[in-house]
């Protein structure tokens, strides 16, 4: 009897130590360096969770195939018209660049990819892309849809990559808006809504007297090298707040709603583009600063 009670007591003590150890380990997991957390996440995604990711890929592909044929046909027609008119523009551009003595733009290409979202807790704003390192995808490449900027690649693996959309708290993009006075520049970042569906973009740091019209197109400026120049972010909305004569912030109506994106393209070849853009925008910045 006494031996049984002693064994029970021993077992409870061992259980207590196991629990204590696991709680400590879970707290350590929270505070691990980001690289280690990524490695653990990668390992799980490429092993235990792999079959479920494959199922999601199949579901996404099936949904895409079930899309209205006429919609896809119309998109193809629009794309063909755009390509046809672009041939003349490209030739004119080449001639003008030759006359002005400008260098050729660094080559860039788009890699088509599926956008897959996990429904697990804590994974909001994060998506998985089917494009991987084998396709030439690199961390910090821009992820775009036909409507505009969706987000940015963060981690690249051999079987896929992970990225976040513009609603992520770390998202930042240098932006430009073409106005009657020249160009206005600012920084676009996400602002949390009361619920995640109310998240929106805010353009900060524009000159106080820039007076942007509602509906003006907001494009990436290419400054900082994070995104290539000229990708649509959205359109200027209402004034968010002003900072007593210094600067003014605007809400931006996003071009792409993250939840609606199932297919996208990864923009590869950013660094060269960004350098070129930085050189090209040097004069336009002076215009923006002048209006300040």
């Amino acid at each position: 009897m006494a031996g049984k009670a002693q064994r029970g007591h021993k077992r409870r003590r061992r259980d207590f130590h196991v629990v204590l150890g696991l709680v400590l380990l879970s707290l350590i997991t929270i505070n691990l360096p980001a690289e280690s957390q990524r490695a653990i996440g990668d390992g799980l995604r490429e092993s235990v969770l792999r079959p479920f990711i494959e199922v999601q890929l199949i579901v996404v592909r099936t949904r895409a195939r079930a899309r209205d044929y006429l919609t896809v046909r119309a998109q193809l027609d629009s794309a063909l018209t755009f390509v046809a008119s672009g041939t003349t523009l490209a030739e004119e551009n080449r001639q003008l660049r030759g006359l002005l003595g400008l260098n050729e733009r660094s080559p860039s290409r788009l890699v088509a990819t599926s956008v897959i979202r996990s429904g697990t807790s804590g994974s909001s704003s994060v998506f998985r892309l089917s494009a991987s390192a084998a396709d030439g995808v690199m961390p910090f490449d821009a992820v775009v849809t036909e409507l505009g900027l969706l987000g940015q690649v963060q981690e690249v693996g051999p079987e896929g990559s992970m990225g976040y959309d513009w609603s992520h708290p770390d998202f930042r993009a240098s932006a430009m808006i073409v106005t009657a006075e020249g160009q206005a520049h600012g920084l676009v970042e996400a602002e949390r809504g009361q619920f995640r569906e109310q998240d929106r973009l805010v353009l900060r740091g524009t000159a106080y007297l820039s007076n942007l019209e509602r509906g003006a197109e907001v494009l990436t400026s290419g400054r900082g090298g994070a995104f290539p120049r000229g990708i649509r972010i959205g359109w200027v909305g209402e004034v968010a707040r002003t900072s007593a004569g210094w600067d003014i912030s605007y809400y931006v109506e996003p071009a792409v709603y993250p939840g609606a994106a199932t297919y996208a393209s990864v923009h590869i070849g950013v660094p060269g583009d960004a350098l070129q853009a930085a050189a090209d925008t040097a004069d336009s910045l002076a215009v923006a600063d002048g209006s300040r």
Partner: protein
């Protein structure tokens, strides 16, 4: 844990991953992972419950980029609590089961919120006082259904 309970728990975990990751349903699907943990931990030792919680939390956090570890912490504690509850309460009524699942889901969300990255977590009132109780009701209703549909014998024992 009986073979039947083990099969139900494994099925709930697979269904959770299939619905939330495979079909991308998110919160439209109930938190079956937590239900699986709660059902299993009542038949496991304190350490076993915590270990199962730790492993399930890792799976839940595999897609988390800002608050990695929050679910691990919450699930580990819930596994421990689930195993401990067995020694404190022996209730098998529908009301007890529903309350047990409801409170567990609520506490799990609260624990995860507390240790989440302040930059990424939602506002306390909206998440913990509005969204979470609704999700807890959903989980409780599902839990009671699972219990009566698949584990009827263990309920009536």
């Amino acid at each position: 844990m009986s073979a039947r309970e083990a099969i139900v728990v494994a099925s709930l975990i697979i269904a959770h991953l299939l619905l939330r990751i495979g079909f991308g349903l998110g919160n439209a699907a109930p938190d079956l992972m937590l239900l699986a943990l709660l059902l299993a931990s009542r038949s496991l030792s304190l350490g076993g419950g915590a270990l199962l919680g730790f492993c399930l939390g890792l799976l839940e956090d595999a897609f988390s980029m800002l608050s990695f570890g929050a679910s691990v912490f919450a699930f580990t504690l819930m596994g421990t609590l689930g195993a401990q509850v067995r020694h404190l309460f022996v209730g098998r009524s529908t009301f007890f089961q529903a309350t047990y699942f409801f409170l567990a889901k609520w506490i799990r969300d609260l624990l995860a919120w507390v240790v989440s990255n302040p930059d990424s977590r939602e506002f306390f009132v909206d998440h913990v006082l509005w969204e979470s109780p609704l999700m807890a009701l959903y989980a409780a209703a599902t839990g009671v259904c699972v219990r009566y549909l698949f584990l009827k014998e263990s309920v009536s024992q």
